[in-house]
Symmetry: C2
Subunit: 325 residues, 2 copies
């Protein structure tokens, strides 16, 4: 039997931003804790935390009021006069980012032609912002992951994907069966249904009828070094988890060019890959949550069980519900 | 269809202790935030938080050093000289509590003849302490809950228990199918196996073979008013959750005198009972976690979904792993 994977270490690589209360951390430009709160109109709750280097670099339009007093804030003003506030907010973000693209301020911000995320917990649904800007502004990023498994005579097996070698992020790493960013206008469920068809050729009708929502994990990441800059940034992340049991005749097959192959692995093979750090970091976290929900990882076989369970559900430093105080 | 239960409100009734960082909260005897850290030998991490009123009331033996300086601490000293430190710690707690029983200091502390809890995360396994003293010392309390469900032609049904009318706590309230406190010397799994037999007449062999560990929920409770005192106290709680699918021929039946009856209810009936606050408060939390894991409560049908998911896994203010720093 394979040794137990170092689950907590795997999580620490994902939930990598320090466990501080950032809302109460004094502004200190000499260390890397130099964040401005991002505030939406008529809402005192931070929706993001923007590093001071980013605040300085961007050209803020008149729609934003930047305050260098404590607490330091970037306040989006309400210029809507009772009209469509969400659309006006979205437009204000668009214009600032469009200028940043024109000025080539950030290597990862090359085009406005990409999908939008929504600002989670905004009281004006749906405020949209360019997906790649979420990390710039410390806005919550939403993903959906589906783990497909098969009950066989030899026990449970899991469908593991391998990312294509040409991908910019985590090339060749192992992945959840199906995963994708949740676009502004869709729900996590709709996301997983179309990603399952696009990435793994699993029929949408079958997914709709059989997939099971089974919770979410949350973490706060330091920005990836994959981009060559911005390692001081923080990104709060929500991953919605879905399970689906596949009959043996439904076999995931690569459809778009993002997945190289799928493997049907037993638990020992999956654990071995976790030990060897072969998974994309956040996919290891999704797998750990799957192991917990399916009784594979338990209090009896893992001394850090409680640490792991709570670490997988970190309270995020941004608003996550429109109705919360 | 029944309206959606107020899930977040139900959780707030369970996770009722303020969301403050108690380790950093200044001692203030005029408000109710007047806690002493409980420290075990050779370990700087708090294992409990003892309210100042309790610190004053108890007669501490020479095994304890009480410091009224900041941070205020009750330090259990290492008198073991390399011998069995766990047994010596357990003995020290026993003696202080035995004296409190003799002196009739607390109405809920009538006898030493009851089960022991372990101190979670202690580096000397297994330090034991009287179950009813966990709340006195703000030590983590461990429970195990098993939800039994049946797949029927009319959809999923859940076995709900009703607590006996003579019970001291929550008489007549609805309960998880099977639940119990995890004794010092047993694992959560062993707890649920024997409780299933004792409380619900479900054969131990069947439970062993079919029950599935599926995570844990954590919360911090203010002490129950059921005891008529001590509403300033805090108790961190871990509940280990188990699911079991029952075939129609296995029917839970009351065995001991703690359960009055079992009902096989569909989801609408369970939701209605949650709305009407008929569940024991922490059993509602267990049911909410079940609803999340089984795709009944989702991001699509509940605007506070993320708040609920993270709230169910609160980071506890005490050590939960022997190996954690």
């Amino acid at each position: 039997m394979t040794a137990q994977p170092p689950y907590l270490e795997l999580l620490e690589a994902v939930d990598s931003f320090p466990h501080i209360d950032i809302s109460k951390t004094p502004y200190n430009p000499r260390v890397n804790l130099a964040f401005y709160q991002l505030l939406l109109p008529n809402d005192p709750r931070p929706h993001g935390y923007i590093h001071s280097s980013i605040v300085q670099k961007l050209k803020w339009s008149a729609a934003f009021q930047v305050s260098h007093n404590s607490p330091r804030t970037v306040q989006l003003l309400d210029d809507s006069h009772g009209e469509d506030t969400a659309a006006i907010c979205s437009r204000a973000f668009y214009e600032v980012l469009e200028k940043a693209v024109e000025d080539k301020l950030f290597p990862f911000l090359k085009t406005m032609q990409w999908e939008n995320y929504r600002i989670v917990g905004a009281r004006y649904p749906t405020v949209q912002i360019l997906r790649s800007a979420a990390r710039l502004f410390g806005i919550c990023s939403r993903g959906a992951h589906m783990t497909a498994y098969v009950r066989t005579n030899e026990g449970m097996k899991i469908w593991v994907g391998r990312r294509a070698a040409h991908l910019f992020t985590y090339p060749g790493k192992l992945d959840t069966t199906v995963a994708g960013g949740v676009k502004a206008e869709e729900s996590p469920f709709e996301c997983i249904v179309h990603e399952a068809a696009e990435e793994a050729s699993i029929p949408a009708d079958f997914v709709r009828a059989n997939v099971k929502a089974c919770g979410a994990i949350t973490y706060v990441a330091k920005s990836s070094d994959a981009y060559g800059d911005g390692s001081d940034l923080m990104t709060p992340v929500i991953l919605y988890n879905y399970d689906i049991e596949l009959p043996e005749h439904i076999v995931p097959r690569p459809q778009d060019d993002e997945v190289e192959d799928f493997y049907l692995w037993d638990l020992e093979q999956v654990k071995k890959a976790m030990i060897n750090r072969q998974f994309k970091t956040n996919c290891a976290a999704v797998m750990i949550d799957f192991f917990i929900r399916h009784g594979i990882l338990t209090d009896e076989n893992e001394q850090d069980y409680l640490e792991i369970v709570t670490r997988l559900h970190r309270k995020l430093p941004v608003a996550t519900s429109a109705s919360a105080p």
